[in-house]
Structure formats: C-alpha cells, structure tokens
Symmetry: C2
Subunit: 216 residues, 2 copies
C-alpha cells in the first residue's frame, strides 16, 4: 500500500475547457480533444461527442477532484492494478515488444474504451477466466491476438469495477498510437471482437470507443 | 456494477460503544467485543485491545460512515470480490463443504486477520501467484490446507488493496466458528504459516489477529 502501488486516474470530459490549474497538486495531466464517439454494444453517454475536451488526471494517490472545477463534466475513474490474466513468460514477451507512451501531437491518436463484462463472466472461476486469454487449439485468445500489435499500440488498463462510487463499466482500456496506424488499431479491435477467435468477448455487454487526439 | 456485485464492509473498532443507530440506513450490523489482539508479523495498532467494541458494517453500496459518529474509532474497510485463485472444481468442492455464518452467541468466536503481502508477491505473474494456492508434489498449498477446515470454520475474504483511502493491508480475512473449535482454528493458522507446506505465506509481511466474541 505504498503510494506507488497503483496509478489512479480520472478522465474528465467536458463541453467547455475546465480550469486545470485548480484541479489540485501532484497530478499528471494530459489534454485531448474528442474526434469521434463510436457506440459498440450497450449504452454510451449521449452527450459525449466530437469537440469535447478531455483531461486525463493521473496520481499516485486516489484522485478527488474539486466539485466546483469539474462542474458538469463526465468522469471516468479507474486505477492500475497487478496483472490478472498473463503468465510470467507472456509478461516477459509483452515487455520486450511493447512500445512506450507517445508524446502529444496532432498526429497522436488516443482511444478510451470503457468496457463492462456480464455477471456470467464474473461468476466464472479464475481458471475459466484465465483460459479465455490463452491460446487453445485453433483459438488464439486475447493475449496472442494482442501481442501482434503492442509494438505500434501503447496500451494501459485501468480497473473501475469495485470502485467507489460504482460506475457502469469494469475497465477503462486506453490506447495510443501514431495516426498512421489507425487501420491497424481498427483491425486489432475487430480481431478481439470475433468470438470464434477470442471467446472472452462474448461476455462484453457494454463498450464504446472515444477517439481523441492527444494534444498536451 | 449492479449494487449486488459486492459487499462493502467497515469494521469499526472503538474503546467506547458508538451510536450504531446514527451510522446510516440499509446497513447490516454485527456486534463484537475483542477478547485478544495477537501480533504475528509487522506492526499492529497499539491501542486495539481486549474490551474494545467492534461493529461490522456491511452494505451493498460503498460504506461512508458519519465522522461525528465514528469519532476516534479505528476503521478496517474492505469489499468482497470475485475469486482470484480457485478453480471451478475447487469452488464446487468448497461450496459443498463450507459451513454457513454463525448466529451471534457467547460461544461464537470471530477472528479478523488483516494481511498485507509484499511488493514481491504483487510483482509475480498470475500463473505464479495462482500456483501458490495449488498442490504441487509434497506441498499442499493454501487451498488444500484450508478445505479440511471449512466445515467448521466460516470464512469471508474482503479486499482492501486498491481501496480509497489506502490502508496498510491488502486483505481482511474474517472467520467464525464455535468456541469449541478454537484449537482447530489455531491449527489451521499454523498450517497456513508453514512456508514449506504453504509457500504463499513467505510473502506475508504484516499480519495480526483480532479475536472477538460475536455478540449480536
């Protein structure tokens, strides 16, 4: 429980820019503008749209943002955790091949995809959930599909399930890549959503994509 | 993220009884008095001692207790989660053999054991952590040791790591049994702490036992 065990995040989405100076101290801030919101399955926030501003607020301690600053913003809170579904050898392979976070630029695309899984997923035992990430015969599964993209697509997983107050998704999946790799990234999403190749995805009951440009 | 996905808890320990009526609505309350506090490894709260009162506050939503009621109390917050280290067949065997929660009585012993694991534990990959709960040759591991006791010892695991605000332990392990099984329970603890039989325990860096009587 040292302060470095986790990174807490809140993505703050607002129609008008907010006063980031007033958000607090010891925060790591990044700035985005929304290019497009793509519903995939289940509800997505109706008002969230192109042209909205997003600030990613990261901290080594839980993030409590002042009400008077965030106003009518939509918040997406989460935190990093230890890894739940990768083996030691997979972690090593991923670490060797994964690219780093990108610098902000008009050519840097960031995509936030909140995901909620069904009750049936959470009722599976650990070995059953773990198996969905592994290759099984003709079925590559989540990890084998993903590793082919990690040299071009930076990714970070934030957990939102069991947070307080509760939010209507379990994870915030977050990605960055050079705009030139946009079609690669779309292909990754397509592969992950093919339940014959990635049976995990049959348990996804809410998912929407927030495409952004990482400005600062 | 329905409200039933988790049970939030706060164990409220205080020298003097607190006004439980003022804690809030829709809460499930149990009352205990502390019989003994046993340090095992690392620090334990110095003031916590025999004769203190404990209220377990459970809720299907995050527990926010009024400051003016809890006063100088020591709080132990946590929440239930899905199971991280048991297989489907183990879950089935555990469900068949596990006893239910006990009614309050002068003969009902409850033991709260906060546990913190080391950074080295949390840096292990999922397959490495999982293996510590499984039988491996002559090493029975956590699950095989524990299942021999579940017909007499009721247990509930609350997670405290990644909570907000952070607390100096990762789990609240909680047990109940008829006083007559006290020595059985001690034997369970001894077995779990033998790192030759349960290598998981080499990663425990903070642990203390709060022995209580479940009064109401």
């Amino acid at each position: 429980m040292s302060e470095t065990m986790s990174t807490w995040v809140s993505f703050v989405a607002s129609r008008e820019p907010i006063d980031v100076q007033a958000l607090g101290e010891n925060l790591r801030l990044n700035h985005y503008c929304i290019d497009e919101v793509v519903p995939v399955v289940g509800e997505s926030p109706a008002e969230l749209a192109q042209g909205w501003h997003v600030v990613r607020v990261e901290s080594s301690a839980p993030v409590q943002l002042p009400e008077n600053v965030i106003g009518e913003s939509i918040l997406f809170p989460g935190m990093t955790q230890h890894l739940h579904y990768t083996s030691a050898s997979q972690n090593q392979a991923l670490a060797q091949r994964s690219r780093a976070e990108l610098a902000p630029s008009g050519e840097t695309t960031a995509v936030l995809i909140p995901i909620r899984k069904s009750a049936a997923w959470w009722q599976l035992a650990q070995d059953e959930r773990y198996a969905h990430f592994q290759t099984n015969g003709q079925t590559p599964g989540h990890t084998a599909i993903g590793i082919e993209y990690v040299d071009r697509v930076f990714r970070r997983l934030y957990h939102s399930r069991y947070g307080s107050p509760p939010v209507p998704y379990d994870f915030l999946t977050y990605f960055e890549f050079e705009r030139a790799y946009k079609e690669d990234f779309r292909h990754l999403l397509t592969e992950l959503r093919e339940v014959e190749r990635n049976p995990e995805w049959q348990y996804v009951e809410r998912e929407f994509e927030v495409w952004m440009t990482k400005m600062g």
